[in-house]
């Protein structure tokens, strides 16, 4: 078995007394695509920022039983090493392309930033490579657009520029943090295809963070479902759709809009008005199957290839 690109176990991120992520594990092999699914505030992005050591030391306390990125212990290495890993070993695509690009820097320079830093290219060589990267991500006349500022691009185009920046360091792991959420549906489909194609072509590991479970089909191999900072279910994507184990996953799948006839099946109790439980299973207050044992947090139970944290599986 090849070495894991990302080997994370028991990750916990605290902001003061708030625990945003607790006991989250994630394992990504080269060429593997994993979806990290959860509603907003479930700790998806927070967990991914921890992978690159991007939480400012003062504001967040990050601990883990194991947090290794391509063999490097992220929690132990000095900032220098982290800077060297960022962009080169793992790169990130952010949710909102309108705010994630430097508005006062031409896009060519922003792409070249990575090339100069990580591949020791000269200015002109970096610019040539940057224009090639722009064409790779589907921006015509890359060379002619290097001097343009982000404001000269549409949202979808800017996200392509973000992807070019992320690819520039030839990372082995790509973390896409809701890369299509801010875009409209047609652009979204194109970008999903683009990212998926590039990932397969280059054999990168991919973590796709999203709140949209429907988007995951055909994009990722495995899905990890988060709720209130905890892993609820971790399963191959086909199994997850065919045989969801956790009541939360079931509720998520039922909430997807369908074209089938019949009354909508979104349940009244499955609303954000119900706060996650602080102790035990966080989903218990919204769960239709809740019983006494839910006051304690269940471990991950295995059931025919899927893992789910639910006492129902203990029977």
């Amino acid at each position: 078995m090849s070495e894991a690109l990302l080997d994370m176990n028991g990750l916990e991120v605290r902001f003061g007394s708030t625990i945003a992520v607790r006991d989250v594990g994630l394992h990504v092999l080269p060429g593997e695509a994993v979806g990290l699914v959860g509603e907003s505030g479930s700790g998806k992005s927070t967990a991914m920022l921890a992978v690159l050591g991007l939480h400012p030391p003062g504001s967040a306390a990050v601990t883990a039983r194991r947090l290794r990125l391509a063999g490097h212990d992220i929690l132990a290495v000095p900032e220098r090493t982290l800077r060297d890993l960022r962009g080169r070993v793992a790169a990130m695509i952010f949710q909102d392309p309108l705010t994630a690009l430097n508005p006062v820097m031409p896009i060519g320079s922003q792409i070249a930033e990575v090339l100069v830093r990580h591949h020791r290219l000269g200015r002109s060589a970096a610019m040539m490579q940057a224009s090639a990267l722009l064409e790779t991500v589907g921006i015509a006349d890359g060379a002619g657009r290097l001097r343009d500022y982000p404001m000269a691009f549409s949202g979808g185009m800017r996200q392509r520029v973000m992807i070019a920046i992320a690819l520039a360091g030839q990372p082995r792991l790509l973390i896409a943090d809701e890369p299509t959420t801010a875009l409209d549906v047609t652009v979204q489909a194109e970008l999903v295809r683009l990212i998926r194609g590039l990932q397969r072509e280059r054999g990168m590991g991919l973590v796709w963070v999203t709140h949209d479970l429907a988007l995951m089909a055909g994009v990722v191999d495995r899905v990890v479902v988060l709720y209130a900072g905890r892993v609820m279910e971790s399963a191959p994507v086909d199994l997850l759709y065919a045989r969801p184990l956790h009541p939360y996953t079931v509720a998520l799948l039922e909430s997807l809009p369908r074209f089938e006839a019949g009354p909508p099946r979104v349940r009244a109790h499955a609303t954000r008005d119900v706060a996650p439980a602080a102790e035990g299973c966080p989903f218990a207050p919204r769960c239709p199957h809740r019983f006494a044992r839910c006051a304690q947090m269940p471990p991950l139970f295995e059931d025919r290839g899927s893992l789910a944290a639910c006492w129902l599986l203990a029977r």
Binding site: R83, G87, A91, F94, A100, R117
Partner: protein, 278 residues
């Protein structure tokens, strides 16, 4: 907006004339600034009785030509103003950038220094420093920068604090851009318009303070024709030769007004919300 931009042009024009006078002083000043004409002491301006076209704005108590001294004095006023603003901009922007971006202890330390500086009666402090350590061009610029850096530090700190949590800073960090480079290439450019605006106000403030210091006798150098020193000298002759004090006073008002009008206009012009940034 219309009126504002007209005033801005007027301010720029006032300053441009002053700069021109400073640059061309040896060519356009009728006399050397120190040249005495003892027979024409306290000569009134040309348009008054007993005035003569030899001394357009009159002479002082030892017969030095007021107009020539004003023209040469432009050099002192502008160079001190610009240098103090520049030095303050470099020091203040750097500290403000660090305070706003790093926050926490660094911010606490720098903000404390800003508060102390603002709470101090500055002119008294400057007077003390210059009296103890002596005057001269560099000491005066240094002391004035002590007053101007605060303006830059406050504005840049506020901007850096907002920018630090922006996505594009996080994105830059996620590709391994080192912090000093983030400060210079990502944060500073966004604060630059504000720095320019504060710069013009600070230059006005520095020129005014320089005149005050010269007036109090701790200015650049007693032998150089500084407007403040001329004003002080003229104070003794207000009853008999009002022109000795009036014209230096007008000159000070001239450049300070110019810098303030320009600054006011830049403030509106460079406001990102005005959409005229690029």
């Amino acid at each position: 907006m219309r009126v504002r931009s007209w005033l801005g042009v007027a301010g720029a024009l006032l300053l441009a004339l002053a700069v021109l006078a400073a640059l061309l002083a040896p060519l356009i000043a009728p006399y050397r600034p120190m040249q005495l004409d003892l027979r024409a002491r306290l000569a009134p301006p040309a348009w008054l009785v007993h005035g003569s076209t030899r001394h357009l704005l009159g002479t002082d108590n030892v017969g030095r030509d007021i107009l020539s001294r004003l023209i040469w004095g432009t050099r002192i006023s502008l160079s001190v103003g610009a240098s103090a603003a520049l030095l303050g901009a470099v020091v203040g922007s750097t500290l403000g950038l660090c305070a706003g971006f790093f926050g926490r202890r660094i911010d606490a330390a720098i903000s404390w220094a800003i508060d102390v500086q603002l709470a101090f009666p500055f002119t008294l402090f400057a007077l003390f420093l210059l009296a103890v350590f002596g005057g001269g061009f560099l000491p005066v610029v240094g002391v004035l920068a002590l007053a101007t850096w605060v303006n830059f530090a406050r504005v840049v700190r506020a901007q850096a604090e907002v920018l630090r949590t922006q996505d594009f800073i996080l994105a830059a960090r996620s590709i391994g851009v080192p912090t000093p480079r983030i400060l210079v290439r990502y944060v500073l450019p966004a604060a630059l318009p504000s720095i320019v605006v504060v710069g013009s106000f600070s230059a006005a403030q520095a020129m005014l303070t320089e005149a005050a210091l010269s007036f109090l006798g701790v200015g650049v150098d007693p032998t150089t024709p500084s407007w403040g020193a001329m004003l002080e000298l003229g104070r003794n002759y207000l009853q008999t030769a009002w022109w000795m004090a009036a014209f230096p006073g007008l000159a000070i008002a001239w450049v300070v007004l110019g810098a303030n009008l320009l600054g006011d206009w830049l403030r509106i012009r460079l406001d990102p919300r005005g959409g005229a940034l690029r």
